[in-house]
Symmetry: C2
Subunit: 158 residues, 2 copies
């Protein structure tokens, strides 16, 4: 993560997170790095679907169609945090990268999807892409693996 | 935290976090508890001051007066997350408890305040109160101690 933050800073890019599944773990992993504040703006933990809609602009239709654990919702969350933070900071959309996580932590099945079904998305650097993960383990393990996957994907894209 | 969530659920209360210092660690500690979604709405990680202003309604004047690490800013953040989430969810302000954290994680001094200077606030249950903490340790230790203090304060108030 230290190297990812250094590369973002060198490119003049800022980072923002929209987290459902990981519930703040992605943001807190980023701020553990000294100097994170030079790159990291913050995020929204949109655990309740009304927060996904109200703060991130995810459409009720998208949530009704595939449920919250869905590639289209992950992309809408990552796009939404960029738009929201661009408005708040006055920075251009192009200078903010949005990361998002949504998935089933378990132990229960959610919307017909088993625990470990996860979508992550990166918005910025020219487009918005979602990736599906199928993870094993308990709630904490699924969350930690998701955070690791987001950071690796971001590193690959930079 | 499990017992705190059970007490909130029994009282029909919901929880929301506005985090600066802890950067998502408070939210992620809450969502580690199975069933957290019955009580926890989510939060805003307002690491950059523009996010405190734009998403939580903290006044630029308050930030200019005492800096971000300040009792008045902690209270404004906890009040602000309740207002924002009440708008997004349609829930009454009275049914949402807002928690906030702001402080200096270090290693550098910030706005003349040493590492470990922390303010936490609880908004709801009839009023809004900030508490100042003076913590020791590295970045992670200061954050973990802050999360623990917020949960203990909330437990005492319920």
């Amino acid at each position: 993560m230290t190297e990812v933050l250094a590369r973002l800073e060198a490119k003049g890019l800022k980072l923002a997170c929209a987290e459902s599944l990981t519930g703040g773990l992605l943001a807190s992993t980023i701020v553990d790095i000294p100097g994170a504040s030079r790159v990291f703006l913050g995020g929204v933990v949109a655990y309740d679907n009304a927060i996904k809609t109200g703060l991130l602009g995810v459409s009720g239709q998208a949530l009704a169609m595939g449920g919250a654990v869905d590639a289209a919702v992950a992309v809408a969350m990552a796009d939404g945090i960029r738009e929201s933070f661009s408005r708040s900071t006055g920075l251009s959309m192009q200078s903010i990268i949005g990361l998002s996580t949504t998935g089933v932590a378990g132990p229960e099945i959610q919307d017909g999807k088993p625990a470990g079904t996860v979508f992550i998305a990166i918005s910025g650097l020219g487009d918005s892409q979602a990736i599906q993960l199928a993870l094993r383990g308990g709630r904490q393990e699924i969350r930690r693996s998701t955070v690791q996957a987001v950071i690796e994907q971001l590193a690959d894209r930079l």
